[in-house]
């Protein structure tokens, strides 16, 4: 009985370390391999820049890249915000009225299944560029919020719903006190997916707009660097873009944890 707990916490710490060290090791290995391939084969930087060159480009081009990153992030966040408002709002409307649901749901699906790459050029014709880019981010991000929230709102415990009826709850009370909180886990799952998709939507639209030439986002920088064969900057921008995606996902996961950790099974780390 000499305390299993220090042993336990030791194992936990090792587990934690492994979770960080293992992917870090893979990264280090990949970078070294990349560097070796470039050196040994003498590959010129306009075909494949070495990791060191990508990093130094990131530093030297920082002012340009940083402004571009901010522009893309702004679009992404605005697209996500609109998707959250629109998705949840529409899901609530659907939940309240079958007529509205049946009338509009097919169009939400059409919006979702039509590839945004194909829609972007069209939007760029009819809308000012910034609005078109934002619209693309919104189009791809809003459906997961809508679909997940719709599912969440309608998967309320029947007995709880009966209880609300027994106590004479109004429609508004049922929505506010029962359906919305019950839908929170699915809603947040939808928002987490939407965060990544919003970035993708923004990037796709920027690339499409790139040929029109007036863009300033990161994806536009990538396209522009491609035309100018500035491959190191292309890599640096790509690196920033995926970092941005990771940060968005991490932030939304953290938000989910913050909201759900007291009560939802998905957010509880089980002790064994």
């Amino acid at each position: 009985m000499s305390g299993g707990s220090p042993q336990e916490s030791g194992r936990e710490r090792r587990e934690q370390a492994l979770r960080i060290l293992a992917p870090a090791g893979v990264l280090a290995l990949g970078v070294v391999l990349w560097d070796l391939i470039v050196r040994v084969n003498g590959i010129p930087p306009y075909i494949l820049p070495s990791p060191g060159l990508v990093l130094s480009t990131l530093v030297s081009d920082w002012p340009v890249l940083w402004t571009s990153l901010l522009a893309t992030l702004e679009t992404t966040m605005e697209g996500l915000a609109l998707a959250v408002i629109g998705g949840i709002g529409l899901a609530v409307l659907f939940n309240q009225s079958r007529l509205i649901e049946h009338s509009l749901y097919p169009y939400a699906v059409i919006l979702q299944v039509t590839p945004v790459v194909a829609v972007a050029p069209l939007l760029l014709i009819y809308l000012p560029q910034q609005a078109a880019v934002l619209a693309c981010a919104w189009i791809v991000a809003f459906f997961p919020v809508l679909a997940n929230t719709t599912l969440g709102l309608s998967s309320v415990d029947h007995n709880l719903a009966d209880l609300f009826r027994l106590y004479g709850a109004s429609r508004w009370q049922v929505l506010r006190e029962l359906k919305l909180p019950a839908a929170l886990p699915q809603m947040l799952a939808g928002i987490r997916i939407a965060g990544g998709l919003s970035l993708i939507g923004a990037v796709v639209a920027e690339i499409a707009a790139g040929s029109a030439g007036a863009g300033s986002g990161l994806a536009y920088r990538i396209a522009e660097s491609g035309y100018r064969l500035n491959i190191p900057r292309m890599f640096a921008a790509l690196l920033l873009l995926s970092l941005a995606g990771i940060v968005i996902f991490a932030l939304l996961s953290w938000l989910t944890h913050l909201v759900l950790h007291r009560w939802h099974e998905s957010a509880i780390a089980r002790e064994t």
Binding site: N159, L160, R165, Y167, E177, W263
Partner: protein, 258 residues
């Protein structure tokens, strides 16, 4: 316990045919007397829950009538209902869960807190007001569910196999506490169960229901004054259980023959 004369609610010829074609109840006559502890005993699927939901107004009878002694109006606030599952809101604390019926009636939370705490103390959960349901054991969750039903001080408490999913030790404890609550609060309880032992231990009166479609087969009065560990092991208790078992056996055969 002699004020068991006037029924608080009466069911006459109540039938329930579900859209699926299932006839759950047919010709159910039932009087619930003021202040009594009544058990509905019957095999699984005989329509006990359906009958209870009809009394609660959660389901409409296809035939027959439900009459309340005070002649209709809004009974909603006067009914407490406890389901087989605790049916708590997982996102809300124990306090918020118990506050729910009052909140839906438009009560102010700060003003309601003393009453909520008093109710929680009654079910032995005064220290758990800020806990979330997932942090509680099954028995404690059921206590929260009972507190929620009691917080409005209902005239009638409807319970649908509330302890069926609990282990025996917890069930015995909750049985004792329920009997004590009933005596203290002097309310009417309708308790649905498929357990002969539980119904005999708890009730003043047992109504035995037939197999589907549910109807009253027989009824049995339990005239024991003490409900405690001694009663549970007494010859008197065993005798009542035998009579109730036989009644249940007859009811099931009657249902099968029909």
């Amino acid at each position: 316990m002699s004020d068991s004369s006037s029924p608080i609610v009466s069911l006459r010829g109540v039938g329930k045919l579900f859209g699926t074609g299932t006839l759950a109840l047919d010709g159910l006559d039932l009087d619930v007397r003021r202040g009594e502890f009544l058990s509905l005993l019957g095999p699984s699927g005989c329509g006990k829950s359906t009958a209870l939901r009809i009394v609660a107004g959660l389901s409409e009878p296809s035939r027959g009538t439900v009459t309340w002694s005070d002649g209709g109006g809004s009974h909603a606030r006067d009914i407490g209902f406890v389901f087989q599952e605790p049916t708590l809101m997982p996102w809300a604390t124990v306090l918020a869960n118990v506050f729910l019926p009052l909140k839906l009636a438009g009560a102010d939370r700060a003003a309601a807190v003393p009453r909520i705490m008093e109710t929680l103390a009654r079910v032995g959960l005064a220290d758990f007001a800020e806990a979330y349901p997932r942090e509680l054991s099954g028995g404690m969750r059921m206590r929260v569910s009972i507190a929620r039903a009691l917080v409005t001080a209902p005239r009638i408490l409807l319970m649908d196999e509330p302890f069926a999913a609990l282990d025996e030790i917890t069930r015995f404890k909750l049985n004792d506490d329920l009997v004590a609550l009933w005596r203290e609060l002097r309310m009417t309880v309708v308790f649905v169960t498929h357990s002969v032992f539980e119904s005999v231990y708890l009730s003043q009166r047992i109504v035995v229901m037939t197999n589907r479609p549910g109807r009253v087969s027989s009824e049995l009065a339990i005239d024991a004054t003490h409900r405690d560990a001694r009663f549970r092991t007494s010859a008197e208790y065993a005798g009542y259980c035998r009579v109730a078992s036989e009644a249940l056996g007859r009811a099931m055969n009657a249902g099968a023959a029909a």
